[in-house]
């Protein structure tokens, strides 16, 4: 075996990819490379006879042809135990906080997919106490949903809120290309809010090597899967998947793969899908729910990353103007759960969105200088109330209170029969007095 065999001759260095001549090397095996800047992990990603290509986690910068490469005889793994909770790691699985390195109970990452016959139909609501989610596009346990957003939107604030408020046993947060400020923000908000003790973080910041960025989702999902198998409901938060896709693009291009669409590799769909499909509700065990920020370059939803994502995920949340946009957003699984929350949930949701859409038309009319009718005035009032009381991301309300608030807003602006809600519901829920 090659376990301790050391190679002293690097044949080529191209970007983050190096090649060495070596025998008895396994595909996807890890190696350790000793450079003058310290040790780094590297992973085999191509073998051609005795020429072995490795992607170096710390990047190719400063790697010398004479550096030492030692194959480790194992694949990329992550330690799994309760000790992970409250800890922060980087893309190589090394601690980012001041805690000790964890080496016990190592589990492989990027494992096989779940047998579809072992899944159960998603039918449990995951409460977030954010009305635009709970009430209008309910998040369902085991759902996978991206948060489509443009740069500059407060998507990380949204994720942090969800991490604090969501009804999950364990939160696993993966940061890819995260700005250092945002990393600090997550750390601070979660520890202040007391959610850090149920959170594991794997963080790659923008200044870290690209290869580590590619490892983050697999590390995060492997840990999440292990917790789920221990009967925990796990919420995975990823930010930002576009950086992950860009990291794949970078490596693919370096290795001279034929690009398919805007430089992205042809297997972008499969690569994204194999991560998102880790979302699962196990028959007789826990679950993994995935929320992943996907920034859209140029607010273009047809860009390959959001486009491929949309085909994989079960809906999307659109973050626009600091709010979850009710029209573009869609939770495909919401009808699995919102029929059994409260009798008025669906009807109220439909009516409020319909009226909000009329409000939008009225605003357009107003901007074009048309005169406002009494009905228009009512809609304008309604729109403002709706936006400030329900849409704002700072609102923290359980679903039932949000529904009650919805009725209050309606009652403040409209007569019962103007809402288009069935009369048996208005009779029951319309605020008295």
């Amino acid at each position: 075996m090659n376990v301790n065999k050391v190679y002293n001759r690097i044949e080529s260095i191209n970007g983050n990819v190096i090649t060495v001549r070596a025998n008895d090397v396994k595909y996807k095996e890890l190696a350790q490379i000793q450079t003058r800047f310290g040790k780094s992990l590297a992973q085999v990603n191509k073998i051609d006879g005795d020429i072995v290509s490795l992607q170096v986690f710390a990047g190719g910068q400063g790697v010398s042809t004479g550096d030492e490469v030692r194959f480790l005889g194992r694949e990329m793994r992550v330690s799994f135990s309760e000790d992970l909770l409250g800890r922060i790691f980087n893309g190589s699985g090394e601690p980012r906080d001041k805690g000790p390195a964890l080496t016990e109970n190592m589990k492989p990452i990027g494992g096989p997919s779940v047998n579809p016959t072992k899944r159960i139909l998603a039918n449990r609501m995951m409460r977030t106490n954010i009305p635009m989610i709970d009430m209008f596009n309910t998040l369902v346990v085991s759902q996978k949903l991206p948060i489509f957003s443009i740069s500059g939107e407060p998507y990380n604030q949204l994720l942090a809120r969800i991490a604090m408020q969501a009804e999950a046993d364990v939160i696993v947060l993966g940061g890819m290309g995260l700005k250092y400020d945002d990393f600090l923000y997550f750390k601070e908000v979660l520890s202040k809010g007391g959610a850090l003790s149920k959170t594991v973080m794997f963080v790659h910041t923008a200044s870290d090597p690209t290869v580590e960025c590619m490892m983050i989702p697999d590390m995060v999902l492997a840990v999440a899967e292990q917790f789920a198998l221990q009967n925990k409901d796990v919420l995975v938060l990823l930010t930002d998947m576009t950086n992950f896709a860009d990291a794949m693009k970078e490596i693919a291009i370096t290795q001279e793969q034929v690009p398919s669409n805007r430089g992205y590799p042809g297997d972008l769909y499969s690569q994204l899908a194999s991560r998102y499909e880790k979302a699962v509700d196990f028959a007789d065990s826990g679950s993994v729910t995935v929320l992943a920020v996907t920034t859209m370059p140029g607010d273009d939803v047809t860009h390959p990353v959001p486009d491929n994502t949309g085909y994989i995920t079960e809906g999307q949340y659109y973050l626009k103007g600091g709010r979850i946009e009710p029209f573009g957003s869609l939770s495909r699984l919401k009808q699995n759960v919102n029929g059994k929350t409260r009798a008025d949930h669906r009807a109220l949701m439909d009516a409020m969105i319909r009226l909000y859409s009329s409000y939008k038309e009225t605003v357009e009319k107003k901007n074009m200088g048309f005169s406002m009718s009494r009905w228009d005035e009512k809609l304008l009032k309604y729109g403002h109330l709706f936006e400030s009381k329900l849409m704002s991301l700072s609102v923290n309300l359980p679903l039932e209170d949000a529904l009650d608030l919805g009725w209050e807003i309606l009652a403040e602006c409209f007569e019962k029969d103007e809402t288009g809600i069935k009369s048996n519901l208005t009779d029951e829920f319309w605020p008295k007095g």
Binding site: V114, N261, G266, D267, Y269, S270, Y311
Partner: protein, 589 residues
């Protein structure tokens, strides 16, 4: 298994190069040994003494020098009784069996027989010793669910064979010999109730191929009336994400007027398969009165399962479809999504470093797509009966733009195009098939003249609608405005259909014809309407009554009452049938 062996010389993703001695054939199956685990693979290119094979599993842990065993067989499906109701992966491994063996995950290197080797089937011979038979003719039957499953002479036996002996009526497993045949040279061949067939080759054991003339009812009004699909025909459903491709296929798989439905979930979400798996066993097939699952086979290679077997999955599915077609049954095969299949080809092509075509798809994309859809057809079988395979594929074009290679290559070869549009799905108009861009070459369930009449209103209404965006309601004449309202109503009451309501979703041929006549009558009439408000009010009420009518069970009391309400409103609006509409309705009788 042949004695032919080789060893691994390079690994790149799921493409492995193997040095071999002896002979290796294209598309031959081999097993790459990663340690103890044998990984199923397929030869996709041979150069000198190196074969490039695509591994149907993750290739982690393979190293140079690992042993490869060649089998001499191509990728094959096992055909015989017991396929119905199964849930397979792309390589015909039954997923429930894999779950028993491996638990939660699809561990690699674990394979299982496509057919249960233990189960006994009640065989009744139909041939006798001395009969001369050919491939594709049958020598006996077994009951399988609601169907009579024919036991065939294996499709790969060429020439004439004489039955030397045949088993008596009784219970046999699929592997037990049930007959001995002698070929023209007197050699004896033992056959059982099951045999293998290479999935990438079309089954051609039929007497002739017929033109697809008979409409396959899907119970979706917009399809059956406007853009019909024929038994033995092909159609495609491209659309952007969220436009309802999968829901539409799901509805079709429930209500389509065929004997057997084969669903190939190819590179899509596992959750959707779980939905089918949960729902179908509970639903009753109105034709047989049995569980819908008994007429369904699911081939499920979801997006996170290995990409090479995703490519195989559509071929496995169509092979099973052809097999049941040979029994004189009508089979519908649904592939969701063919784009994922094409992408699987693209991934392999990239690894093979082939010169890329448009959007990096391989140059042979079109011919592969054409060859796949050509496996559909309406055929006359050796015993004179007929059977068909209908293929419907969804396409997931990047960015929802139909000007991309997979959509365009598909449009060249299919007989009907159901283009889903983002505008219609955003407006919650389902099914979101855009009537202005879709087409079909097959026969509709309603008369062409009436169809043209309806399409005319739609096109006209659309023109007026776009004009109105510029000149406003004020600038539109009353008669134009009424045409616009008529088009809107036609769209709302006929094209749109609620696929979640049991009555509404299941709109049969007779009902479609009846409702169309009514629509021609209503839309072909002139009304005493003073102004636009009047007109809008009238057609809104008419629309509401029509929708109520749609939800009433056909020919029930409620149905008659709802129709009477429409008639009342018609009289109230002082409707007068126009001459062309009157002629149309008369001709139709």
């Amino acid at each position: 298994m042949t004695e032919n062996k080789g060893k691994v010389v390079s690994i790149n993703g799921n493409l492995v190069s193997v040095e071999f001695d002896g002979n290796v054939s294209m598309n031959e199956i081999c097993y790459v040994f990663a340690g103890e685990t044998a990984l199923k693979s397929e030869v996709i290119r041979i150069k000198g003494n190196v074969a490039q094979v695509q591994v149907y599993e993750m290739t982690d842990g393979i190293q140079c020098g690992d042993t490869v065993e060649f089998t001499g067989d191509m990728l094959s499906a096992e055909l015989g009784p017991g396929l119905l109701g199964q849930i397979y992966d792309g390589l015909q491994n039954p997923l429930p069996v894999l779950a028993e063996q491996a638990g939660w995950f699809l561990e690699r290197g674990i394979y299982a027989d496509g057919l249960d080797a233990e189960k006994k089937w009640a065989f009744t011979p139909t041939a006798k010793a001395g009969d001369v038979v050919r491939a594709g003719e049958y020598i006996g039957t077994v009951p399988e669910g609601p169907f009579t499953h024919k036991i065939f002479i294996p499709f790969d036996l060429l020439g004439n064979y004489t039955v030397k002996s045949i088993a008596e009526q009784g219970e046999y497993t699929v592997k037990e010999p049930i007959a001995v045949l002698t070929d023209e040279r007197g050699r004896e061949i033992s056959v059982s109730m099951s045999f293998k067939w290479p999935v990438k080759r079309a089954v051609k054991c039929y007497s002739e191929r017929l033109a697809p003339m008979e409409t396959m009812e899907t119970k979706v009004r917009l399809i059956d009336s406007f853009f019909p699909v024929a038994k033995g025909g092909t159609y495609c459903t491209p659309g952007p994400f969220g436009a309802g491709k999968t829901v539409l296929q799901h509805t079709t798989s429930k209500y389509a007027d065929v004997d057997i439905v084969i669903i190939a979930a190819c590179g899509e979400r596992a959750g959707e398969v779980v939905e089918t798996l949960t729902e179908f066993p509970e639903l009753i097939d109105p034709k047989t009165g049995r569980s819908l699952m008994e007429r369904t086979i699911i081939i499920c290679n979801t997006s996170s399962m290995p990409v090479a077997s995703r490519e195989a999955s559509v071929y496995t599915a169509v092979t099973l479809a052809e097999y049941y077609r040979q029994m004189g049954l009508h089979v519908l095969m649904l592939a969701d999504s063919t784009s994922r299949w094409a992408q699987a080809m693209r991934e392999m092509s990239g690894r093979l470093e082939e010169i890329p075509g448009e959007e990096a798809f391989p140059a042979y994309l079109e011919s592969y797509i054409a060859a796949f859809y050509e496996r559909a057809g309406y055929v006359r079988l050796p015993d004179g009966s007929t059977g068909s395979v209908t293929i419907g594929g969804t396409v997931s074009p990047a960015g929802g733009n139909f000007e991309e290679p997979v959509t365009q290559a598909t449009l060249k070869v299919v007989g009907a195009f159901h283009g889903l549009s983002r505008e219609r799905s955003d407006a919650r108009k389902y099914p979101a098939i855009d009537p202005l861009i879709s087409w079909s070459k097959y026969n509709s369930v309603i008369a062409n003249e009436k169809l043209d009449f309806c399409k005319d209103i739609l096109h006209h209404g659309d023109e007026i609608g776009s004009m109105m965006k510029v000149v406003g309601e004020e600038g539109t004449t009353l008669s134009d405005y009424i045409t616009y309202l008529k088009a809107e109503m036609l769209d709302a009451v006929y094209l749109q259909q609620n696929s979640f309501d049991l009555v509404e979703a299941n709109c049969g041929k007779a009902r479609q014809q009846y409702v169309t006549d009514k629509l021609v009558y209503i839309l072909g009439s002139n009304y005493a309407l003073e102004n636009k408000d009047d007109a809008r009010g009238f057609f809104n009420r008419m629309r509401q009554r029509f929708i109520d009518w749609n939800y009433a069970e056909f020919e029930s009391e409620a149905f008659k009452n709802a129709e009477e309400k429409i008639d009342q409103l018609y009289r109230k609006g002082d409707g007068k049938l126009s001459a062309p509409a009157e002629k149309l309705l008369k001709d139709g009788e």
